[in-house]
Amino acid sequence: MSTPIIELRGLRKRFNEGTAIESEVLHGIDLDVHRGEFACLIGPSGSGKSTLLNMIGLLDQPSGGQYRLKGVAIGQSDDDTRTRARLNTLGFVFQFHHLLPAFSALENVTLPMLMRDGVVTAAARAEGAALLEAVGLGQVLDRKPSELSGGMQQRVAIARALALSPDLVLADEPTGNLDTQTADDVFALLRDFNRRRGTAFLIVTHDPRLAARCDRVVELRDGTIVRDEAQVAATPGAD
């Protein structure tokens, strides 16, 4: 098998290190994520899901253990290296969409291109428009986020996460804020991108119905992985 995108070995995270209230949130996590995977990360509140996602997303630094991104140790790298890796390798989808309100839907999607290339070329704009088309928002390219519904905003966020064709998209409760029907649609969209473009997804979710539709379920409890198994993804609407 080729080099995994993510390789975690004995990853630990302690907060408030060296103080009286020091606490370890992740106790030695071993986890690989391969290209094209569609994995869910589940677990009760406080189990360390978000902390783990921040580690994987290079938004936070582990206190111990190893993190290799596409074969390169990166856990303890400096901020600029990790920032570059985020830009080039990872995409993010958050629960509360987090679009930039001052930018239109299309501008939000082309922002990563602007960051990487310093300009938004006509080709980049076309690519952004195609992505928005693919998430069903071809008609609202120039609308501001405040003029879009929650589901639409989350679709824009997904298009933006995919803008630079990342190897892995990290999604933190991407449907946590949406009604069931919209949540199903958004989830289907992620699944679709995974199948068609081969983008790997790691999705944190509370929703057992959505977890059932992933190829792999990783369950975290009290900072330890208690279950990590492949499954046959349920077909939407079958339950």
């Binding site: 978000s50 921040n54 997303g57 938004l59 936070d60 901020d79 600029d80 920032t83 570059r84 985020r86 830009l87 080039n88 993010f92 958050f94 987090h98 930039l100 309100p101 001052a102 930018f103 922002l111 990563p112 602007l114 960051m115 990487r116 310093g118 300009v119 933006r160």
Partner: protein
């Protein structure tokens, strides 16, 4: 930098009222700075010109003559001579023509006017007045002093038999344009001259002090044939007179004196005025900087989530830093641009209101481009510096925490 520009501009636009208020505040502060700078420059130039009257920026005169006693060697018998200061006779500048020619070519000297000046009495009927009689070359003299613009009757034409006197002297003598007056000096019994023009320098003392004749006439009356008692100079910038004088002092073997040396008390007054206005300007600048800094600190707090998302998407700390530095600089620059317009407008308005004793405008509003250029640049730098603390704060935000807010 494209990314930083786009995001900074959008953030400012998104700020709406907040951005408008801080730009307005900056513009008000800057317009006041521009205004008092323009007023001060104008007023000081006006005060200097009025106080100086016909004093030039720089005067070159012969060195004072000193008595040189012959000292005896120590122990030698005999009394030490007591040395009296020597009386200064009216002398010509040695070799003044080559010096004047060299000064004509000097890039820092705008105009050169050789004059011969000394005591004289002007009489008409029973009235006699003591004046300084100045022999001038009218063209040259008017480009060094403002006499040309101060003629209130007749004209400044000086044929051999003509003279131009001040308004108060004319009143004292009961003379009008066309009348004859008698001018005599200690070394010449004098002759009758026709009053061709009357001037008013705006100060009565000056108007009583000077009578003008053509240079050759003056040379004859002061018994200095072919000679001049001083060379008057005008420099491009009033305030550089002292520096130019110091340089010229090294180049000519005569006494060189700037108006600043000759009017030390005036200079002290002006320097204090300049200091006070500088203090006001610095204070306004600080207030503007604090305003910009506080608005940006609030903006950083308001945009914490957006900063977090930008960082997560792959914007480096440096980029976030520059986005906020740029916002500060932009506020300063736009505020200064509006402030310059406001300041110019204020100056024009005041120029219309302030009149001097003779009814002429005390100040003139002119587009002082270097002043406005320096203001724009300075304000952008002040804005940039004011943004340093907020920008560092934004750059240090922990993206993981920022997103959760």
């Amino acid at each position: 930098m494209r990314f930083e520009w786009i995001v900074a501009l959008r953030f400012l636009r998104e700020g709406g009222l907040q951005t408008m208020l801080i730009i307005t505040g900056t513009a008000l502060g800057i317009s006041f700075i521009v205004f008092i700078t323009a007023i001060l420059t104008n007023l000081q130039r006006d005060i200097v010109e009025r106080t100086l009257g016909v004093q030039p920026h720089i005067t070159i005169r012969p060195q004072d003559e000193v008595a040189r006693p012959q000292w005896r060697a120590a122990g030698e018998p005999g009394a030490q001579p007591e040395v009296q200061a020597r009386a200064q006779r009216l002398r010509s500048i040695d070799q003044w023509q080559p010096i004047a020619r060299a000064l004509d070519a000097d890039p820092q000297v705008r105009a050169v006017s050789p004059i011969v000046s000394g005591p004289a009495t002007v009489t008409r009927g029973d009235a006699a007045r003591v004046v300084t009689l100045v022999g001038i070359v009218p063209d040259r003299y008017t480009s060094v002093t403002q006499l040309g613009a101060r003629i209130v009757a007749g004209s400044l034409t000086l044929a051999p038999g003509d003279t131009v006197i001040g308004r108060e002297l004319a009143q004292d003598l009961g003379a009008r344009v066309g009348d004859m007056v008698r001018i005599a000096t200690p070394v010449s019994s004098g002759d009758a001259y026709r009053v061709r023009g009357i001037y008013d320098l705006g100060a009565k003392a000056f108007n009583r002090s000077y009578a003008y004749v053509a240079l050759p006439v003056g040379q004859a009356l002061h018994a200095l044939p072919g000679g001049v008692s001083s060379i008057d100079l005008k420099v491009d910038n009033l305030w550089t007179a002292e520096a130019v004088a110091l340089r010229l002092q090294r180049e000519v073997p005569h006494q060189v004196e700037s108006w600043m040396q000759a009017n030390a008390q005036l200079m002290i007054g002006l320097a204090n005025q300049t200091l006070m206005t500088r203090l006001i300007r610095i204070t306004i600048g600080l207030v503007v900087a604090i305003g910009i800094a506080s608005v940006l600190i609030v903006a950083v707090v308001q945009k914490t989530r957006e900063i977090g998302i930008l960082r997560a998407m792959g914007a480096s700390r440096g980029r976030v830093l520059r986005v906020f530095l740029l916002q500060g600089a932009l506020i300063g620059f736009v505020g200064a641009a509006l402030g310059s317009i406001g300041g110019y407008w204020l100056t024009r308005m005041m120029a219309g209101l302030l009149r001097s004793a003779d009814g002429t405008r005390l100040i003139t509003a002119h587009l002082d481009l270097p002043l406005y250029g320096a203001t724009l640049l300075g304000a952008a730098v002040v804005g940039l510096l004011a943004a340093v603390a907020p920008a560092r704060r934004a750059a240090r935000l922990d993206p993981a925490t920022a997103i959760r807010l």
